[in-house]
Structure formats: structure tokens, C-alpha cells
């Protein structure tokens, strides 16, 4: 029961592997993959109440980890649905694509439960390596080979970030003589006057900064988003970020006492992320690149909750990242549906979408307004709570800078809404979206609105989830 989600994922990977051994019918594999995804989601939901610890206390199963596993499984399921045609992946590697997808998710699920340095490292690498392979799997028919560039960039930056993390872990072990996270952080808390302790923590956090695309580990984002196929980008932009936030909260929540230096560093990272992301997004023409930069800015906002070092702040960060993933998935749902053969979508391709597919246009507009932080959607509530939490701690200047960023960001979101709603289509071909896609987009829309209008239940839930690790 405690290990059920992970086992199901492993099983799903094996099933796909076995199917791929025979003569493969890609349609069958796609259907099988979606059913397997549903099975994983069901398994995580079934085991959501599990408690306990495994593998000599290096693997903890509590409400917090189970909530994140449910979220990860849910996001993965949406990615499977919106990318169920795998338009831009070579037919011959479809089974392998799904295999690596499941393995990557397995790594992320193990990550949110790990409380031991080596376990964290192994889980993180498991998830990363699978994605390193998924990125260059894009079909090479155009001979642009930019997916190769994206793949190699993702790999190199990933390895660098992992290097930082390992280095930091070695410091941690050297300073404390243990690899158990609670023990390590407990002992480190007496050493905050020593630079080594601070450097160790920051270097370990760097690994998750990379996954979350936070300044200064964001350099891979635009090229990977652009180079990977739409479905892969949807995955990279949502699921790993959930796990990264989970671990950031887990580690930061163990920093106690004199952690002011860490707060200051996090503040600088948050502000630079926001400004870098928003200012760069202003000039993008490729919508995936734009969403990539906007993701960097949003990561900065998430950090705003984490750096308060308060239970409510962590809960707000959790609420915000859930909202962000939902909004982001809604955007990618539209991108994947519009892109005919899986090619990248330019902002100008969205011209007159309101005529070609009213539902998708509405989904995109609502998601973008929500990302921009316009009420009554989840993006506003999330930002509002993060700002309130930060100001409660007295970070007035930080709040003002964050608020200014909201104003900058509106421009590029608005210019996408403009082309979707306010201009006439260049080509009148209606966008066909299947019943699955329509149903998913309606569900995402409802989540965006309901989380924004009635946030209380979600906040209580997030608080109780975070409470279980405090």
C-alpha cells in the first residue's frame, strides 16, 4: 500500500516495454498508455492516506508526499491526454517515449518521499535522465536538429546543477556526518554562522532551482521549451516543477533559527527570476518560449512563499504551484491542439482562434489572464496570498518589486489574448479538438475559476499537507 503508486508506475513502464517488444501498433500503445496513466492516478489516490517509512527511514510516506504524488499523477494524466496523438514523435519510438515518461514520473514520485541525501540524488537523476532522452526524441523530418541542441543543453545544464548539488551534499555529510536529511538539517542549524553550512544548503537547493527553472539555473529553459516537442514541453513545464517545490519546501522547512542569510539569498533569486523572466518574455514570438520565460517569473513568485519560513507561506507556495501547473497545462492543451503536425506554435498562428475553436480560445484566454494574475482566477488569489504572506513578514520592498512585475507581465499575456480574440483568422480552417480534449479543457477551466473564487478549501488542504512535515 505504501509503495503502491511507485510499483504501479514501474509496472506501467514494464507493460509498455513488453508491448514494444512485439510488432507495435502505435494506436494501441497510445490507448494502453492512457489506461496505464489512469491506473497510476487511481493507485496514488487509493494510497493517498498511507503513512509510514521505508528503506531504513530514507523514504517517508506521509500526507505531504502522498498529496504531491496525487498531483504529479494528475498532471501526468493530463499531459498524456493532451499529447495523446504524439504528433511530433517518430512512430518507431512511441513505446520508448512512454516508457521514459513513466520512468521519469517514477523518479519524481520517489523524490517527493525521499528524506535521505543519496535517495534524493538517485530519484532526481532517475527522473532527469529519462527526460534527457525524451527531449531529442522529436521527429527530425524538418532536419532542423534543434531538438538535439535542446537535448544537449538540457543535459549539460542538468549535469552542472547536479554537480552543484552533489558538491553541496558532500559538504553536508562532511559537516554533520550523516546523510539523513532531518539529522543533517538539525546539526546544520547550529552552524549558520559558518559560510560552509550556508553554501552547502544553497548548493543542494540549486538542484531543485534547476528543475523549477529559477534564476540562476534557468538558462536551459527557452531553448529546451522551443526544441522539445509540444507534449514533452508540457511535461517539463509542469510535472517536475511540482516535485521541485515539494523538495524545496521540505528542505527549507527544516532550516530553523538563524537562517536569515538564506532568506536574503532566496529573496535575491526570487526578484531576479521575476524580472529576468518577465522582461525576456516581452519580446518572444514563439509561444512556448514565452511560456518558458513566464515560468521563470512564476518560479520567483513561488519562492516568495517559501522564503517566509512560515507554515502559511509554504501552504501558499503549494497552492500557487498547483494553480500554476493547472494554468500552464491549459495553455499547453491549446498549443498541442492547434499545432497540426506537432510544429511549434508562433503567437501569430493563434490569429482569430475565437472563430476556429471558441472553447480553446476561451481556455487560452482564461489561462493567460490567470497567469497574469487578473482576478477572479487562481493566479490572482495565489499572488495575493503570497504577497500578503511576504508583507506579514515585513518584506515591503520585496512585495513592491513583485507587484511591479505583475504589471510588466500583463503586456505579453495580453498580446496573446489580443491575437486570439481581437483579430480575424488568417486561415479559416477550424481546429478539431476531440471530446477528450474538450472535456479536459472544461475541467481545467473550472479548476482555474473555482480555485480562484473559493480558495479556502484548497488552502486548508495545503496547510494540512504541509503541516504533516513540520
Amino acid at each position: 500500500m505504501q509503495f503502491l503508486p511507485e510499483l504501479t508506475l514501474l509496472g506501467a513502464g514494464l507493460v509498455i516495454f513488453l508491448v514494444s517488444l512485439g510488432k507495435t501498433d502505435t494506436d494501441k500503445i497510445k490507448t494502453v498508455a492512457i489506461w496505464l496513466g489512469a491506473a497510476v492516478l487511481a493507485a496514488t489516490l487509493v494510497s493517498s492516506g498511507a503513512q509510514g517509512s521505508l528503506f531504513y527511514d530514507s523514504y517517508k510516506i506521509d500526507l505531504y508526499s502522498q498529496v504531491f504524488k496525487c498531483l504529479i499523477a494528475g498532471a501526468m494524466f493530463v499531459v498524456l491526454i493532451l499529447g495523446r496523438k504524439l504528433k511530433d514523435i517518430k512512430n518507431s519510438v512511441h513505446p520508448e517515449y512512454y516508457l521514459f515518461l513513466f520512468i521519469s514520473v517514477l523518479g519524481l514520485m520517489m523524490l517527493v518521499s525521499s528524506v535521505e541525501l543519496l535517495a534524493i540524488f538517485v530519484a532526481l537523476e532517475l527522473s532527469s535522465f529519462a527526460v534527457y532522452i525524451m527531449v531529442p526524441m522529436r521527429d527530425d523530418s524538418g532536419n532542423y536538429r534543434f531538438q538535439m541542441e535542446a537535448g544537449i543543453k538540457y543535459l549539460l545544464f542538468g549535469v552542472t546543477a547536479t554537480g552543484f548539488m552533489l558538491f553541496g551534499m558532500s559538504y553536508m555529510f562532511g559537516l554533520t556526518g550523516s546523510t539523513q536529511l532531518p539529522v543533517v538539517m538539525e546539526k546544520l542549524s547550529y552552524m549558520y554562522d559558518q559560510p560552509a553550512a550556508i553554501i552547502a544548503i544553497m548548493m543542494v537547493l540549486a538542484g531543485f532551482f534547476y528543475k523549477l527553472a529559477l534564476f540562476p539555473f534557468h538558462f536551459w529553459v527557452p531553448d529546451v521549451y522551443e526544441g522539445a516537442s509540444n507534449e514533452t514541453t508540457a511535461f517539463i513545464a509542469s510535472v517536475p516543477k511540482l516535485a521541485a517545490v515539494a523538495l524545496l519546501i521540505r528542505i527549507v522547512s527544516m532550516v530553523n533559527g538563524e537562517g536569515q542569510v538564506i532568506v536574503n539569498i532566496l529573496m535575491v533569486c526570487a526578484v531576479l527570476s521575476m524580472f529576468y523572466g518577465n522582461l525576456s518574455a516581452l519580446v518572444q514570438t514563439d509561444i512556448k518560449r514565452m511560456l518558458g520565460f513566464s515560468g521563470i517569473a512564476h518560479a520567483g513568485f513561488v519562492l516568495l512563499g517559501i522564503l517566509t519560513f512560515q507554515l502559511s507561506g509554504y501552504a501558499n507556495a503549494l497552492y500557487y504551484i498547483i494553480g500554476y501547473v493547472v494554468m500552464n497545462l491549459a495553455c499547453f492543451l491549446v498549443i498541442c491542439s492547434i499545432s497540426k503536425n506537432g510544429e511549434n506554435v508562433q503567437i501569430s498562428d493563434l490569429n482569430g482562434l475565437h472563430k476556429r475553436s471558441p472553447l480553446l480560445a476561451l481556455t487560452l484566454a482564461v489561462a493567460l489572464f490567470a497567469l497574469a494574475g487578473i482576478p477572479p482566477f487562481v493566479g490572482f488569489m495565489g499572488k495575493f496570498m503570497l504577497l500578503t504572506g511576504a508583507l506579514k513578514q515585513g518584506y515591503l520592498f520585496l512585495v513592491i518589486l513583485a507587484a511591479i512585475n505583475t504589471a510588466i507581465a500583463i503586456f505579453y499575456y495580453l498580446s496573446v489574448v489580443r491575437v486570439t480574440f481581437c483579430s480575424d483568422p488568417d486561415n479559416n480552417s477550424p481546429v478539431v479538438s476531440g471530446i477528450f480534449t474538450n472535456a479536459t479543457s472544461i475541467v481545467l477551466l473550472l479548476i482555474i475559476v473555482i480555485m480562484g473564487v473559493a480558495p479556502q478549501g484548497f488552502i486548508n488542504f495545503a496547510t494540512s499537507a504541509v503541516q504533516s512535515i513540520m
Binding site: 477572479p376 504577497l387 513592491i400 507587484a403 500583463i410 495580453l414 480574440f421 479556502q456 496547510t463
Partner: protein
């Protein structure tokens, strides 16, 4: 909570008014019939207008409390409440909104030809947001509606607007949003200072430090001055007005601009009284600058919509002038002038829209000399133009007279400086009127123009009715707001006295 009055006879009237249009909009999502959409929107907005009548008849004019209050918890962890109510300051604005919306639907009847359902949905969502802004007594509720309103308005301008709609809509959105960002920070600061509560009446008349008040006032000022718009922040207005469809212009002029001045009255004065006193002269002279600047620029316009847009800058300058002279005549005059401006300028935009529907041009030159062929039209136009520059017997005369009376009480040079604005108003309005009615020897051929049809006459008649009602018998309107304004001023002066006493205590 002693500022609240629950009216047992009408327990849910305000919520009904707010959510009826929203429900109408949501239901309309599922209908794909343009014909039905028009009647549905007209029905819903008219029903809202009718349902709002008991507000006036049951309003207790002897109390300065918030009435018809409804209060529910919304987000417990942040102590955000859903609490709405009206007092003498907001009730007239609520009524103005409910009454103007059906007329906006009528004005768009044949003007809007594409995507009619979407248009009507936007109009109804606008109504929900606008009514909510005037009623909200929780600062987060206020801010959410204040921002949410930008989306439908953006779409109104951006989809059904004129040739430069993209530029105008984005400028409108960016300006307003950027202005209100600091308001959000201010709100959160107030929340923290006021024992973690967003309840607006509890934030008023507290003793915040002067520095904090000044920063708060500046945050308020930026948000509200852009919305009004006051002189250096007005540049989005002509662009938005010119490109917006008629209904959009009417909503902008009649309701949206009032939110800025309403914000000054509701928030800036009671929450930051000392900063208001300190910064009052600057705001007053900015108002004067707006009056004069608006007048001169309006005089030079060739585009009718731009002319009226700039005249709005001038008229709203009068309103802010009246608010910040801080006496009873000034403030009552301002509130009345907000309503007057809503009626008169709204009607003028409708008139321009009617010409535009016929000639597809807003140029003054192409509309010269229509008086001969459209007698009914120019009759309406004449009355509204006279009203616009405050001709005695029309509504604006009463408002401007009260504001100037207040200004004279406050400072004679200030009042004298505002007088040329009134003259300029007459000049640009009469210039426009002369050209449209008679024109010159080089009039284009207008003989093919048809005069107003019944629908258009019905649209304009209510405006004319209120022009003369307020012009000839303004007392019932003033009675509605009188106690609230007196209460506001009493509290303001009491607070001033208290602050002065405290300052002296520290000095000695």
C-alpha cells in the same frame, strides 16, 4: 460593525443586483442565437434596473450607515469577507449603473453586428463588476472586482472597436492595471496594520503615521487619478473613447470614470485624512489644470468622440475639485456632478454613435448641417450640449454651481481659476453644435440621412428626463447623500482636530 445596517425587508437585494447579470451572462454562453441574445440582455439589464428601485424607496436618508448590508465569510484564513452595502455616497452611482445598462444594450442593437452573444456577455459581466465595486465593503472584494472589470472592457474595445482598437485597448488595460498595482500593496499594508482585517469601514479614521498616510495616499492617488482620469494621467482616455463601440464609450464615461472619484471619497479621504489635507493643494491645482487643459484640447478637436472625451477630462476636473475643497457644497456638488456627467456625457456619446451608424465617420466635418434632415436628432443633441456646459435649468448647472460655491468658500483664487473652464465648455460645445446643426456653405450632401427611429428615441428619452429632473428639482438627489456627506466631513474635521491636538501635545 456598528457602521452597518441590515435592512430586514430586503435581505438579499444587493446580491441579487450583482449576480443577476452574471447569471444572465453564464446562461447566454449556451445560446447561439443573436436575436435572442439581444432580447435576453435587454431583459436581464432591465430587470436589474427595476429591482434596484427599492434601494431608493427603502433607503433611510437619516442614517449615514451602510444599508442593505449582506455579510458572509469568504476566505477564512485571510479573513476576507463577502460584505456589501450602500450608503449615501454610493447609492446614486449604483442607480446610475443599473439604469444606464439597458440603454447601452439598446444603443448596441444594430450597432453591433458581429459576435453579438459575446458582446452581450461582456456587457453583463461589466455590470456585475461595476455594481460590485460600488457596493463592496471588503477591500479584497473591491480590488477583485476593480481588476476583473478590465477583462470585459478590454474585450469590448479590442473586439468591437475602431481601426486603432488594439492600441487603445492595450493602453487602457496597461494604464489601469499598472496604476492599481500599488493600491494592492497598500491594501495588504492596511490589512496588516488593522489587525488582519480587510473590512473597509474599520480602516477609516484610524491614526496611521503621517509618512504611512502619505505613501498610502500616493498609492490611492495613482490608482484613482488614472481612472478619473486626472490631468497628467488622462492619455488613455481619448484613445479608449475614440476606438470603443458606442456602448463601451457610454460605460466608460458614465460609470468607469466615476470609480476613480468614488475611490477618492470612499478611501482616500477617510483612510488618509491627514495626507489629504497635506496634499490637497496639489490635487486641487491638478484639477484646475485638467479643467483648463481639457477645455482647450476639446476646442481643437475635429473628431466628435475625441471632443467629448477631452470634455470629460475637464468635467471630471470639476468633480475632483469639488471633492478636495472639503466642504459640504463641494462634495455634494461633486457627487451630483458625477451623476450629471454620467447622464450627459453618456447621452452625448450615444448621439455621436447614432451619427456614426449612419455616416460611418466621427469627423465633425462629415456631420455638418444635419439639422435640416434630422430635426429630432438635433433637438436631443442641443439639450445634451446645453447640459454639458452647465446651462441653467439643466443638471450640470446645479452640480457645477455647487462645486464652484464650495471652491469659493475654500479659496477665491482657486475658484476664479476654474471659471475659464466653464466658459471654454460653452465654447467647444457651441462650436460642435453649430457645425452639426447648421454647418456652413460647404456642407456635404446629408439629404439621404434618416432621422432617429423609435428605438433610438426611446434610448435617449430617459437621459433627457433626468437632465431636466436634476436640473429643475435636485433636492431628492441631494437628500439621498446629505447625511453621509455630513458624516464624512464631521469625521474628517474631528480627526483633524484630534491630530492637531496630538501634535501639540508632542510639541509641548
Amino acid at each position: 460593525m456598528d457602521q452597518l445596517l441590515i435592512n430586514p425587508n430586503y435581505p438579499h437585494i444587493l446580491s441579487t443586483l450583482v449576480f443577476l447579470p452574471l447569471a444572465g451572462a453564464i446562461l447566454l454562453l449556451f445560446v447561439k442565437n443573436e436575436f435572442f441574445a439581444r432580447y435576453w440582455a435587454l431583459g436581464i439589464t432591465a430587470l436589474t434596473a427595476i429591482l434596484s428601485i427599492p434601494l431608493v424607496s427603502a433607503f433611510d436618508t437619516s442614517s449615514a450607515k451602510f444599508q442593505f448590508v449582506e455579510q458572509y465569510n469568504w476566505v477564512d484564513s485571510l479573513n476576507i469577507q463577502y460584505v456589501i452595502g450602500v450608503d449615501g455616497i454610493s447609492i446614486l452611482l449604483v442607480m446610475l449603473t443599473t439604469f444606464i445598462m439597458p440603454l447601452c444594450v439598446l444603443a448596441s442593437w444594430s450597432y453591433i453586428k458581429t459576435r453579438v452573444q459575446t458582446f452581450m456577455i461582456c456587457l453583463m459581466i461589466m455590470e456585475t463588476a461595476m455594481l460590485g465595486v460600488f457596493m463592496a465593503l471588503d477591500f479584497v472584494l473591491f480590488y477583485i472586482l476593480w481588476e476583473a472589470m478590465l477583462i470585459p472592457m478590454y474585450l469590448l474595445i479590442g473586439i468591437w472597436g475602431g481601426p486603432r482598437k488594439i492600441y487603445a485597448s492595450i493602453k487602457f488595460f496597461l494604464y489601469t492595471l499598472a496604476g492599481s498595482i500599488m493600491l494592492l500593496v497598500g491594501i495588504i499594508w492596511l490589512y496588516k496594520t488593522n489587525n488582519y482585517s480587510f473590512f473597509i469601514p474599520d480602516m477609516m479614521w484610524q491614526s496611521y503615521s503621517l509618512t504611512a498616510q502619505i505613501y498610502l495616499f500616493l498609492a490611492f492617488f495613482l490608482a484613482f487619478a488614472i481612472k478619473v482620469p486626472m490631468f497628467p494621467f488622462h492619455t488613455w482616455l481619448p484613445a479608449a473613447h475614440v476606438e470603443a463601440p458606442t456602448a463601451g464609450s457610454v460605460i466608460l464615461a458614465s460609470v468607469l470614470l466615476k470609480m476613480g472619484t468614488y475611490g477618492f471619497l470612499r478611501f482616500a479621504l477617510p483612510i488618509t485624512p491627514e495626507a489629504t489635507t497635506l496634499l490637497m493643494p496639489y490635487v486641487l491645482w491638478l484639477s484646475i489644470a485638467g479643467i483648463i487643459y481639457g477645455g482647450f484640447t476639446a476646442l481643437a478637436q475635429q473628431d466628435m468622440k475625441k471632443l467629448i472625451a477631452y470634455s470629460s477630462v475637464g468635467h471630471m476636473g470639476f468633480v475632483t475639485l469639488g471633492i478636495f475643497v472639503m466642504n459640504i457644497d463641494g462634495i455634494e456638488g461633486s457627487i451630483l456632478q458625477m451623476i450629471n456627467h454620467g447622464i450627459t456625457t453618456g447621452a452625448l456619446f450615444l448621439c455621436v454613435g447614432m451619427i456614426y451608424e449612419r455616416t460611418h465617420s466621427r469627423e465633425l466635418r462629415s456631420a455638418t448641417g444635419v439639422g435640416k434632415y434630422m430635426p429630432i436628432y438635433v433637438t436631443f443633441l442641443t439639450f445634451f450640449s446645453l447640459s454639458s456646459f452647465g446651462f441653467p435649468g439643466t443638471n450640470s448647472f446645479v452640480g457645477e454651481f455647487m462645486i464652484l460655491a464650495g471652491a469659493f468658500k475654500h479659496s477665491i483664487p482657486l475658484a476664479l481659476a476654474a471659471i475659464p473652464g466653464a466658459v471654454l465648455a460653452a465654447a467647444y460645445m457651441l462650436r460642435m453644435l453649430q457645425k452639426i446643426v447648421w454647418g456652413g456653405t460647404d456642407n456635404p450632401d446629408q439629404s439621404w440621412l434618416k432621422d432617429l427611429n423609435l428605438r433610438e428615441i426611446i434610448t435617449l428619452c430617459p437621459f433627457l428626463f433626468f437632465v431636466f429632473w436634476i436640473g429643475l428639482g435636485p433636492q431628492p438627489f441631494i437628500d439621498l447623500m446629505h447625511i453621509s456627506v455630513i458624516n464624512l466631513l464631521d469625521q474628517f474635521h474631528a480627526h483633524q482636530a484630534q491630530a492637531v491636538a496630538a501634535a501639540e501635545l508632542i510639541l509641548h
